[in-house]
């Protein structure tokens, strides 16, 4: 167990390059958000309760305070410029309540992201949660996606492949069931990060297995489907470094070959991207050795699943920029990871955050 990978020295940061973190959630939201959710959930226990959207009272100062000591501090300390920011993934809780519960909660969460992005327009760009609910067709999420993109200037969405929260009761992402939301994503030119939420299945641990399983599951669905023939410009980010996929790249290459499907890099090329949310250097080394450079986006998910400091490095586990900087990459490739690929996958970011001069 020694971290003795061969790596290059960190390259000098080009002054004209931006560092975009494609994967951040508002995990530090002010307490009234959780109070609202608790009250909403408590209301579900009363069958006579008619759920109303209600109001959420959070001041601008509370928002500033929630970010200044956390995401903004880490942006400064770690040297990233902007975070693509969405509501807390584990709190989406699509399995809780019904469609109305999910819609009310989702609208509040997205509105809060909009306020964050308005207060710190240089630091955050919004990605929305969708009002998914078990058994409710994905087309019912179109209105919220349109609202977020057209009115709130969001640049993408998080799509939960398992709104049941660990029972995996919806059709696969490659089923026609999901096509209406894909049509809208293509029309709006926004990608989706495939991201499950908390699990209510005691077999799974939300951040320790359910997240990674969903990543792995989605990738295999894509291998066995013609979804990208139907939607040549549809784009998915599979977070957490692609789940188990890079470690088992030989397995996937072999399965694709046995099944007479496209080679993996061809399947992924314009449609499937992995982030760098892998919390140790040997994992990041593997990711960069295996996955085409054009399909990797810098991401950290800070402040997220793993909040501690690694005693073997004295740095935060989720300070993924430190690992990426240790990988031997050309300046062109580094720019792809940190900025260019993300601008390609989330093109609406270009209007919100122009390139540096």
């Amino acid at each position: 167990m020694g971290f003795t990978c061969k790596t290059g020295l960190p390259s000098q940061v080009s002054s004209s390059r931006m560092i975009i973190d494609c994967h951040g959630h508002y995990t530090t939201a002010p307490k009234p958000l959780q109070d609202y959710r608790d009250s909403q959930i408590a209301g579900l226990k009363d069958p006579s309760h008619v759920p109303s959207k209600g109001t959420l009272k959070i001041t601008d100062d509370q928002i500033r305070e929630s970010l200044e000591g956390a995401q903004l501090k880490f942006q400064r300390e770690r040297g990233s410029d902007v975070t693509i920011f969405s509501p807390r993934a584990s709190a989406m809780g699509h399995h809780i309540g019904n469609e109305t519960t999910s819609r009310n909660w989702t609208e509040h969460c997205n509105d809060l992201i909009y306020r964050v992005c308005s207060l710190y327009p240089q630091n955050f760009v919004g990605v929305c949660q969708l009002p998914q609910s078990p058994g409710v067709p994905p087309k019912n999420s179109i209105a919220e996606l349109e609202r977020c993109v057209n009115q709130l200037e969001f640049i993408g969405c998080n799509l939960n492949p398992d709104p049941s929260g660990g029972n995996w009761a919806a059709p696969p992402l490659t089923d026609n069931y999901w096509y209406p939301i894909y049509e809208k994503m293509v029309e709006l030119d926004v990608p989706a990060m495939v991201h499950v939420s908390a699990t209510c299945n005691p077999n799974f641990h939300t951040t320790g297995s359910h997240y990674l399983n969903a990543d792995t599951t989605a990738f295999m669905q894509f291998i066995t489907s013609d979804i990208f023939k139907d939607f040549p410009t549809l784009r998915f980010i599979i977070p957490h470094g692609g789940g188990a996929v890079p470690y088992h790249w030989g397995r996937y290459r072999g399965l694709a070959q046995d099944l007479k499907r496209q080679p993996l890099d061809e399947m992924m090329r314009n449609n499937v991207f992995f982030d760098t949310c892998v919390y140790h250097l040997p994992g990041i080394d593997l990711l960069f050795k295996i996955v085409p450079i054009d399909n990797i986006l810098f991401g950290s998910e800070m402040v997220g699943a793993v909040r501690g400091i690694d005693p073997t490095t004295d740095h935060y586990y989720d300070d993924t920029k430190r690992y990426v900087d240790k990988v031997s990459l050309s300046e062109t490739d580094k720019r792809k990871i940190y900025e260019d690929n993300t601008r390609k996958v989330y093109p609406r970011i270009n209007k919100r955050i122009p390139r540096k001069a």
Copy 2:
């Protein structure tokens, strides 16, 4: 995407070292086995049908023929000595029918493994399938485990953490629900490989995501449980290189730390082992860099999930010995991987297959 890992030269094979493959399934069984299963499943459609165990007619020559051109050929070609052999994992199909269906099928499958091991006592040692069934308590599998170990000289079992086949409806492996079978495993001094079967949930692909998800899921269950305080000598093999775990080792170290659980290597030490069923060299390199050498057992799962030849190496994807031989390891460590660790985890092998002089 270049496989340019730094690796040592293959070491000379020590004449006194054996190479034990801990992970082989009888995927090439003669056709009458599948005919029996098809007939059994067809019978389930008729509500008036009373399932009987029935008979399975397979000759010794059919068994020889099914192995000579496959597992035995590969043992010779690849240079392994003995395979720990169990019924085809994907065909266990615990979710099909009821407890009687599962028991009848399981007994036939295990009996066939016994015949294989009797015909080729130097090449195969048996591990049993268990007659699990959704909603049926694991204690109901004890009789078959005892029969296989005490009468058929089997040395372990495969334990399916999800007999529902992808609905994950059973309690976690760390729940008291499973304790009766663990008590028997400890008493018999046999380990279990955590191995799911085919999935009937269209979200998952049996070998492409369900297997790996189960591996990842089990590991996180172990992190968050005191099961090995309750059973200090209970041993699990998590196959397929530990699922997503080595690639996300930093995530797991960090989660264990945040949750105030033991460090991973302490948790694993005497209880949790990974095999080497990772089908490319960079993945194997990562496994050996990350996981304690005492917790890795050589395995290939040939002839299994991936049957093709890798065009980048001109060798079978699942010829994992080629990758392991390229990892720079001391002779002592190589002996651990290929023989000593497996003898420690499956001690009943020592009676069946003595060490070379």
